[in-house]
């Protein structure tokens, strides 16, 4: 269920946090996420603890491995709302320009499969900064529906940027 043609999803372990910290501090990931500080290991450990606090969890994270079992990225469902059955998708890879690789599409398909088929969620969404053209292209290609754009939601690179909300509903999901 967590394996595709190119990647395998597995549970994250504490030992992964050093790699995750480096990736999240790298420019190509930092410019796409809400985090604006550089992360240290205290931040990482607190985050790791916090995602294991609640039952059912609000965040379910996976490590992305290639077929040689090397960790190459992170994905997951965050802000899971079990009452209204929706969640945000989180995804990034260790290297840049991942958005055009077949691995990216496969990971999104695997996470949709998990969210819709296993968790019975009704809506999966992403919030993409307008500066992230690659991500907009990727989710458009994955037939996510653009619901609109929150005006001037973030400040980056000395100016305001909108954020775009894309979503996929269970009834629109086809394997």
């Amino acid at each position: 269920m967590f394996e595709g043609k190119f990647v395998i999803l597995r549970a994250l372990e504490k030992e992964d946090l050093t790699s995750l910290k480096e990736w999240r501090n790298s420019l190509h990931v930092r410019k796409s996420t809400r985090e604006y500080k550089l992360l240290n290991m205290i931040n990482q450990k607190n985050w790791f603890e916090s995602i294991h606090q609640l039952t059912p969890p609000k965040d379910i994270m996976f490590g992305i491995m290639n077929k040689r079992k090397k960790l190459i990225g992170v994905t997951g469902l965050t802000h899971i709302d079990w009452k209204n059955r929706n969640s945000e998708i989180s995804i990034y890879f260790s290297t840049k320009n991942w958005q055009t690789k077949p691995e990216a599409k496969e990971v999104i398909n695997l996470i949709m499969e998990y969210g819709f088929e296993e968790l019975n969620l009704n809506r999966l969404y992403v919030e993409i900064f307008s500066l992230m053209k690659e991500n907009i292209k990727l989710f458009t290609k994955m037939k996510f529906f653009k619901e609109g754009q929150l005006r001037e939601k973030i400040w980056r690179q000395n100016k305001w940027w909108d954020t775009l909300i894309f979503s996929k509903l269970a009834k629109e999901y086809k394997k």
Binding site: N84, N122, E147, G148, R151, K153, W160, S167
Partner: protein, 173 residues
């Protein structure tokens, strides 16, 4: 002008909590909040205590003619991106559509844009809450996003509208 003098935003006191529970659990208010459980005094007291050390929320009682008639404030305040959301409840239902909400909203926007130097103030409204959508539109809010099927109420899915007003729009009022 008279109305303006009568309307004040005041600090919330512990003694206001009973009123808040009563309003928020009432059939005129409850369906329009995304909260889906009834409040009791424990939840409300915890909420009150959590407000005290939280700079991301600034809440006020709305007083009109010296009577507490509602509550409003800014929540999800993001000082980095200068962004926040509006929360507003006029508990006294007979005072709806009298312009008091608009007055309170104007106060809040003024506080958010001028005092907190925010750039954008948002509001999230469930689609069936037509009065609130009209209310925010009147104060220059625009609909940014319609989140599809994002809330389950009364046996079906509903959209939520994300509306916002920017500092530059507000300065024109």
């Amino acid at each position: 002008m008279n109305q303006k003098i009568k309307m004040q935003l005041k600090q919330i006191r512990k003694s206001d909590l009973k009123l808040l529970i009563q309003w928020r659990n009432s059939k005129n208010i409850f369906p329009y909040n995304t909260q889906y459980f009834l409040l009791n005094s424990k939840i409300q007291t915890d909420w009150f205590n959590s407000l005290q050390n939280d700079s991301s929320r600034k809440m006020f009682m709305i007083s009109y003619d010296k009577i507490k008639i509602g509550i409003c404030g800014l929540i999800n305040i993001d000082y980095k991106n200068k962004n926040a959301d509006i929360a507003i409840i006029i508990g006294k239902i007979d005072l709806h559509s009298q312009g008091i909400g608009t007055l309170a909203l104007t106060h809040l926007l003024d506080y958010g844009f001028k005092k907190l130097h925010l750039n954008r103030i948002g509001a999230e409204v469930i689609e069936y809450n037509k009065n609130s959508i009209r209310f925010f539109k009147k104060s220059k809010f625009k609909t940014d996003v319609i989140h599809r099927d994002v809330i389950w109420r009364n046996n079906r899915w509903w959209n939520i509208n994300s509306m916002s007003v920017l500092k530059e729009d507000f300065n024109e009022i």
